[in-house]
């Protein structure tokens, strides 16, 4: 109900009473919701825990949700409380003249300011940890894994409308499927043979644009076995929506068995491929520029 100056008790006492109720409702609801977010919803958030970068993204989502939920709840609870308690009861009298409260305003501005700046700092840091957070860092990555010299390199070659994969540590073979070993640092070298595509390995928490004549490097470390989907995330023509394939994170023994098998099966094809390079250029002496041959790193 509206606060009136002629009711029993001072307006300030009435305001404190309503304020206290709102605060209590908000506090209890925030604690409950944040606990549910962190412990019930959090373990099931996308993209999951298949890699370090995916797990890092889940952590980011949990932190952002836990910190932003109380803000949302305050708005909802204050609005709901006002609708119920301060609505006109048929007397059609004006509501109580509400004055500002500098302490409350200062507290609100300070807390929300700290929250926004803090989340900006947190988000900025999380964009680079771990090892670039699974995002394409361009041809000269700044944030590398600690043991960058021991990564499995997978070159992702996008073309309208399919991803293919080259494996420089397996003779430079090229495959149309992708398997990865578990508990391994992976370096994706992403490029394109035609227009701009985007390599988005959703469950791996890896996303990097595929630009022609450019190498875009992204890192992750596999933690769990399972299936992941690779999608193109840049509109690239009629079959953009069908430009996807599935990959698997498998045991190390299964991976090396698969890789060596593919290396043997593709030996004759590998001989026809251009020398491995981080990007490929059109061969100028072929009419139409249809042949992407060797490279300039």
């Amino acid at each position: 109900m509206a606060i009136k100056s002629d009711e029993v008790g001072s307006p300030a006492a009435e305001a404190r009473k309503h304020g206290g109720r709102i605060f209590a409702l908000w506090f209890v609801a925030s604690v409950i919701v944040d606990l549910v977010v962190w412990f019930v919803w959090g373990p099931h958030m996308a993209p999951g825990f298949m890699t370090t970068t995916a797990a890092g993204q889940v952590f980011d989502f949990k932190v952002l949700t836990v910190l932003s939920a109380p803000v949302l709840l305050m708005v909802w609870i204050y609005g709901g409380y006002s609708l119920i308690m301060f609505r006109d009861k048929g007397t059609h009298e004006d509501g109580y003249y509400v004055k500002g409260n500098r302490k409350i305003q200062a507290t609100w501005y300070t807390l929300t300011g700290i929250l926004v700046i803090g989340l900006a700092a947190f988000g900025t840091y999380e964009l680079i940890a771990p090892a670039g957070a699974g995002v394409g860092e361009g041809p000269s990555p700044i944030w590398k894994p600690n043991n960058a010299g021991h990564t499995l390199i997978v070159q992702v070659i996008a073309q309208q409308w399919r991803f293919t994969y080259r494996w420089p540590q397996f003779g430079g073979m090229e495959t149309t499927s992708i398997n990865l070993p578990v508990n391994t640092e992976i370096q994706f070298d992403v490029t394109s043979l035609d227009v701009i595509h985007d390599f988005w390995a959703y469950q791996l928490g890896v996303k990097a644009d595929a630009n022609p004549e450019v190498n875009n490097v992204a890192y992750t470390k596999t933690l769990q076995t399972g299936r992941f989907v690779v999608r193109c995330d840049e509109l690239c023509g009629i079959w953009h929506g069908a430009m996807y394939n599935y990959g698997h994170v498998v045991s190390q023994s299964s991976f090396y068995s698969w890789a060596h098998s593919m290396e043997a099966q593709n030996a004759s094809l590998t001989k026809l491929l251009p020398k491995f390079s981080t990007s490929y250029l059109p061969k100028d002496n072929v009419v139409g520029g249809q042949y992407f041959n060797s490279s300039q790193a």
């Binding site: 073309q159 399919r162 227009v195 009629i238 079959w239 069908a242 094809l269 042949y291």
Partner: protein, 227 residues
Amino acid sequence: MLSKGARAGFVFVGFAIAIGVILFAVFGYLRSSPPAIAATAASSQPNTVNVVMQVDGAVGVGPHPTWVGYWVRDAQGVYHQTTIFKVPERTHVHMTIYEYDSGGPLRNEVWGKVQGVQGGAVSLNGTPVSLINSSAGNGVAHTFVVPQLGVTVPLYGVNGNAKNFCNVGPCNLSEAHNTIQFTFYSGNTTHNYRWQCFVPCGLGFLTGNGGPMQNLGYMAGFVQVVK
């Protein structure tokens, strides 16, 4: 002289007809599609169907007669300018493709490797082939690739300087061509499987992947797996 109400009625009816005609044309255009040709049951082999196609350097008909494209033959032996054909599920699909176009080097040599066909090889003019070096000979003209079924078949090109080179389709067997035959399994699921060419053969378009590469009926199509 018509009354004001009658005139308003005529205007309303005329407006409604105009809107109807416009909507009919728009939806007719949006829903238009090349015809789907049913595969022909093989008389000699059980659980097998035949699909016969030809690919020409210029289809010669329709709104884009100069575009490269496919024709599919029906049960009566009549060719239809389309890239959509129907096959039953759980069936061996025996493909015969008459290739009339000239070839060249592939943008990505990986598409020169035959994959997903029975026996691991295709028959190129009667000779089994599992890999084509597109930098040699006539190169690869086009590829028939159904990604979701794992099928990749490079189509060896013909000599562009041949005297009997077919410039405009539909072409016939007296003209220079290669015959590519292979069989793949249609799978256990009814679905419209897209297929495409991985040779950027849309000449005059950005990176060669516009025009016929992006239009059903030319270098993009569907294998409709039905019950």
